[in-house]
């Protein structure tokens, strides 16, 4: 990433002085043709089969909002310590597993009904599920702070590449330590949900899909977990905006991101601000992990790798270091994947996702919202 920010500065500070390479138009022409082609395919399919398109769009929304929750952690940590925390995807995985153990082993989601039998089951499920999610978030935060203290803090003055490689090491450690039989086991584990997933279809109004009943032709289906993921993701976004812009710790985060030595001189405890950033990012990854596990209902220890990497691509696409950028980038990534699965083929989804990374780095390394001069967290 050193190279990334380095070249971006070249692009922004000295665009006029740089002579255009003679065949630059080939690359640009290629991207323009590609963009026209993609737009053409999408629009023609939208006109031909609007409900199928809408269905793919909903799939993309669900993926995108999950990626958004993970991407926030990447972008915040990068903004403040200039570290790509590759272990972030595995914190996401731990979040899913914590909720699995809380639900399947300890029946934590049923505590309100067990403690107060008089409350309505609906309220009990909501409170129980929120408890499970909060527990996952807290444990993920604790894990991330531990990782930061043990693995990253001693390397704060080392070259950035050292910390990056350490992050990859931590990521592998979490995956393969988790795969031990007495930890999470290497199996694919069917995930027990704290609440039931209910689906609806939209056609002449919104109707519930009853078990064993097929929705009519041309209906668009969606589930409660999609709604929950969207609401949670937007709430997280609003909360972060508020936290960063309006609170004292937010000001401290921005100050530390802008200039660490100066922030330290102003009496900011930069180390605890960094730990706090890791904790916040991990909490949202934990939240994302629980919701992802509820949505896709099968977990294993390498569950976090691909969502983590794609959220990283989303963060780069949006402009790494920028919070709204991560959000927008994640939504674009979700759509790109869903449309690839829909109109090209499913195995191409990862290829397209990572092609986006390459294209962004080639065309606009700072991403959509990235402005090197501006403050970022």
């Amino acid at each position: 990433m050193q190279q990334l920010s380095g070249s971006s500065q070249v692009m922004i500070t000295a665009p006029k002085k740089k002579k255009r390479p003679p065949l630059a138009w080939v690359g640009q022409g290629f991207f323009i043709v590609l963009a026209i082609l993609v737009a053409g395919i999408l629009i023609s399919n939208l006109i031909r089969q609007p409900t199928l398109f809408a269905q793919f769009f909903i799939s993309g929304l669900q993926l995108g909002f999950v990626y958004a929750m993970i991407a926030l952690g990447y972008t915040m940590v990068y903004g403040i310590v200039k570290l790509i925390n590759f272990a972030h995807g595995d914190v996401f995985m731990v979040g899913a597993f914590v909720s699995y153990f809380a639900v399947a082993r300890f029946r934590l989601h049923q505590w309100p009904l067990a403690a107060f039998p008089q409350i309505s089951p609906g309220v009990g499920v909501v409170i129980g599920s929120i408890t499970v999610i909060l527990l996952s978030m807290v444990i993920c935060s604790a894990l991330a702070v531990t990782i930061e203290r043990v693995a990253y803090k001693p390397l704060r003055d080392a070259p950035r590449i050292a910390a990056l490689i350490t992050a990859i090491g931590v990521s592998f450690f979490l995956e393969y330590f988790g795969a031990l039989n007495f930890v999470f086991s290497p199996r694919f584990i069917p995930y027990e949900r704290p609440f039931e997933v209910v689906a609806w279809y939209i056609k002449d109004g919104i109707h519930l899909i009853k078990p064993g009943e097929a929705p009519p032709d041309g209906a668009i289906t969606f589930s409660n977990i999609l709604v929950i993921i969207i609401i949670a993701s937007i709430l997280v976004q609003i909360f972060l905006q508020f936290l960063v812009k309006r609170t004292k710790i937010g000001i401290a985060m921005r100050a530390s991101s802008y200039d660490k030595p100066a922030a330290r001189l102003m009496g900011i405890n930069v180390d605890s601000v960094i730990s706090f950033t890791f904790a916040i990012g991990a909490a949202f990854a934990g939240l994302g992990g629980v919701l992802y596990a509820i949505a896709y209902s099968s977990i294993w220890t390498q569950l976090g790798i691909l969502p983590g990497l794609k959220a990283f691509v989303a963060a780069v696409l949006g402009g790494i270091g920028s919070i709204p950028g991560a959000f927008v980038g994640a939504l674009i990534m979700g759509q790109a994947e869903a449309m690839t699965m829909g109109y090209i083929s499913t195995p191409m989804r990862d290829a397209v996702a990572f092609s986006i990374l390459i294209i962004v780095l080639l065309i606009r390394p700072t991403g959509i919202f990235g402005e090197p001069e501006k403050e970022k967290v």
Binding site: Q49, L52, Q55, F56, I58, S59, Q62, L63, R187, F188, I189, P190, V197, A199, Y201, I209, P211, G212, E213, A214, P215, T221, S223, Y292, Y296, S297, S298, W300, Q302, L303, I305, L306, A338, M341, G342, S345, T346, P347, D350
Partner: protein, 388 residues
Amino acid sequence: MRFVKFFSLLIVAALILSACAQGGSTGGQQKELKVAILAPLSGPVPTFGVSTRDGALMAIDEWNAKGGVLGMKIVPIVEDSQCTPDPAVNAANKVIDQDGVKFIIGEVCSKASIPVSEIANSKGVLQISPTSTNEQVTVDTNGNVKPYIFRACFIDPFQGYVGAKFAIDKLGAKTAFVMLDQANDYVKGLATEFAKNFEMMGGKVVGTESYTATDTDFSVILGKIAEAKPDVVYLPDYYNIVNLVAKQAKEKGINTPFIGGDGWDSPDLDLAAAAGGYFTNHYSPDDPRPEVVNFLKAYGEKYKDESGNPKVPDALAALAYDAANVLLQAINDAGTTDTAKVKDTLEKITYKGVSGTITFDANHNPIKSAALLAVKPDGVKFETIVNP
């Protein structure tokens, strides 16, 4: 000096004694038939090895109780082959060269069975693998059949055929949608064979979608399935993928039956999600045929689990039992232990086994029925037998 003398005497005595013992055993060879069982009792899949050994030993014990084969007592020699090529080859060399075995039952895993088959075939030793499904076990790389090598299980593509036949004959399906992991040979083999046979039997494959083994989100593929409205969906993957797909399908209101292969056979299969689906397998303990009922009873009486309850034989035990039985039957029918004659008998044999009636095709793969199992919310139930 005296000690050395005494010691050398001792060695000579030991040598003479062992020679006597050797002579004794060669003298009794007319009355004994040695059969080697190569099973992975340690290594990655020890439970497979135990089931295989127990199934084969039970068949041998039953023959001995009836008076053996051709008046000879059958002596099993069990070797641990670890589901790994090197130990399997060592075990094969040991039983052939040291023990003088001419008949081998095993190995379980294809990757171990293939090197063993090379040795056995070159030495004229008859080998029958109970469970190795790779085509290369009985056929060499040039496509020639290894004359002395047989197997007791059907090979992977056959399950695709059975799935297609079941979909058309029993479910009355006219259209099918195929989902496959293109990077997995097992899945690909089943899916291709299913699609081919389904179309040949008059059905129509309305869509094929591939995914990768690490995918968790199948909503887009399921959206296409909902749009295509097939009568069945063929998903011949392992249970972990089946759990994901089936659950997401239920939530989208897709009630199309899913059909799969023996990869579904796992205690971790999500019964609630996969309910309504079917899969093909080598055998089912719920099969009402008398062969299966008797096998189940005898096995349960002979083998108990840790808490003393009768064990339910799995497909490996059933296939090993069949492999041993078909081999001994062939020796009996041939009237000789000459492997060249026994192999000719095997090629023409018809044997009613636990896993179906076995006859061998030109490539020494059994042509036999497959069990079709239905997934119900409370467990996997026997549905029917599909004949080839």
